[in-house]
Amino acid sequence: MSGRVLVGVKRVIDYAVKIRVKPDNSGIVTDGVKHSMNPFCEIAIEEAVKLKEKKLIKEVVAVSCGPQQSQETIRTALAMGADRGIHVEVTGKDYEALGPLQVSKIMAALAKKEDAQLIILGKQAIDDDCNQTGQMTAALLDWPQGTFASEVALEGDKVKVVREIDGGLETIKINTPAVVTADLRLNTPRYATLPNIMKAKKKKIANMKPADLGVDLTSRLEVLRVDEPPQRQAGVKVETVDDLVAKLREAGTI
């Protein structure tokens, strides 16, 4: 395989930020909160760039759907080694309702337009925790899927994927074109170096709208409210192991 890889990169609230629920329970406070690239998307970019460095593919295209600021996320991907970016601009109400189904439609349309041979996505985003976009993009394209990948090897016109499953690992071989979603152990993403950040500024980001791709953004999911989870109360400190065992026995836990 010597083609083009599309990688989806999502802008999310930084993993280290403690999120806050809006007082009116309509969602999460995002204004003035640090955002970064979804960590699983970083792994996806790293994998694509590695394939390019091994000369197994020709071009890595980073795609992000969202408002103007999504371009920063694309810049990060470019600094990590992606060749160019595509920003699919989604704003306002459309952005609030943007979910995995709509993003999958955008990714599938782009895959056709760009004649991609492989799409690599993170297995889930750390904001909505949906874990759907890769599977749905594969479905819409009728491509096979290698989800939760911890090892990816290109073998001729097929991809061998080692997958993280509940009891251990599983190996599958899928035809290309295909969709792969990255799990945590696939690789360790690189840090963008200053020279690469500078170089990334010269790389091109194309801008388009979902309508340019013929994608309808209608969503039939409605978030009624967002709540704080019930808080667990801290219990007691025990002084010794014997104390602990006694307390657990008293509670009938052991």
Partner: protein
């Protein structure tokens, strides 16, 4: 109103999370059917037809269902849906269900709802977002509702008392775009992590993979499963299938013992629904103590062997 539960199994045994999904399906009201697709799954059909609440078992057997590849199962589910017009399709939120159901949903142009923890009404579900730091109540206005079920949030359906009829559904012709090669399951005599009554987990504080032996010894005394934090997995101490947390497994045992785990929010998301939480950590400021029912500030290398010994008494 009628619900299809896609059963997860290995042709010999039903995977326990399917029982939790059946409970969720029963809560919706209406008939519950289960689809068992496999290569030679008569035993599973027999098990599932006895599960309380299951009205009908749909069976599809074909060599192409080996390894439960989503490329092969999706056309089958679509065919089944065409025949029976279910209002809801669900499965457990395991690696199997998460892999399969979104693919089915996209084919039906439906937005699925992942990993639900509560059913408010047949179209309204509660799920966690931001690693369990917020709860989102979602109304699904799709004609067909497709969702995966968090196993720890619904009781397992009783495995006795049902008498479902079984019915063959025609296997679709193989898609042939993917091939299942092998599975390497971690072998363990201990209980399975997500269904164990007691879980002992280790974090970076264990300092090495060898030191996990301390936890295995303690776990064996308690008939417990052993888990780990992402930090311990990232450090290479233990394999990823032991990971408890938002990106690993969600557990809710009767007793959870966190050893040398600081308590990153990501880890808490995977275990904070445990009934009783014990934390052993030498850092009194570790966030894990904020959720622990019993906290012991101590050097784990002393405390854990002591605890193992104390359990002998």
């Amino acid at each position: 109103q009628s619900t299809l539960v896609v059963a997860e199994h290995n042709n010999e045994k039903l995977t326990p999370i399917t029982l939790n999904a059946i409970t969720a399906a029963s809560k919706l009201g209406g008939d519950v059917s289960c689809l068992v697709a496999g290569t030679d799954c008569a035993k599973v059909v027999e098990q599932i037809s006895k599960v309380k609440g299951v009205k009908k078992v749909l069976v599809a057997q074909h060599a192409s269902f080996k390894g439960s590849l989503p490329e092969e199962l999706t056309p089958l589910i679509l065919e089944t849906q065409k025949q029976f017009s279910f209002t809801h399709i669900c499965a457990g939120a395991s690696a199997f269900g998460k892999n399969l159901l979104p693919r089915v949903a996209a084919k039906l142009d439906v937005a699925p709802v992942s990993d639900i923890i509560e059913i408010k009404s047949p179209d309204t579900f509660v799920r966690t977002i931001y690693a369990g730091n917020a709860l989102s109540t979602v109304k699904c206005n799709e004609a067909i509702k497709i969702f995966t079920v968090r196993g720890t949030s619904f009781e397992a359906a009783p495995t006795e008392g049902g008498s479902a009829a079984s019915e063959e559904v025609a296997a679709s012709s193989p898609a042939g775009v993917s091939e299942w090669l092998e599975q390497n399951l971690t072998k363990s005599d201990r209980p399975e992590l997500t269904s164990a009554k007691v879980v002992v987990s280790g974090g970076r504080g264990l300092k090495s993979g060898e030191n996990f032996k301390l936890l295995y010894d303690l776990a064996d005394k308690l008939n417990a499963a052993v888990g780990a934090s992402r930090a311990a997995v990232d450090a290479g101490y233990v394999p990823n299938d032991m990971q408890v947390g938002q990106t690993g497994k969600i557990v809710a045992p009767e007793l959870y013992i966190a050893v040398g785990i600081s308590g990153a929010i990501q880890h808490l998301a995977g275990m904070k629904d445990s009934k009783t939480i014990v934390a052993i950590n030498k850092d009194p400021e570790a966030p894990i103590f904020q959720v622990a029912d019993f906290g012991l500030v101590a050097d784990l290398f002393k405390a854990v062997p002591e605890m193992t010994a104390a359990l002998n008494k």
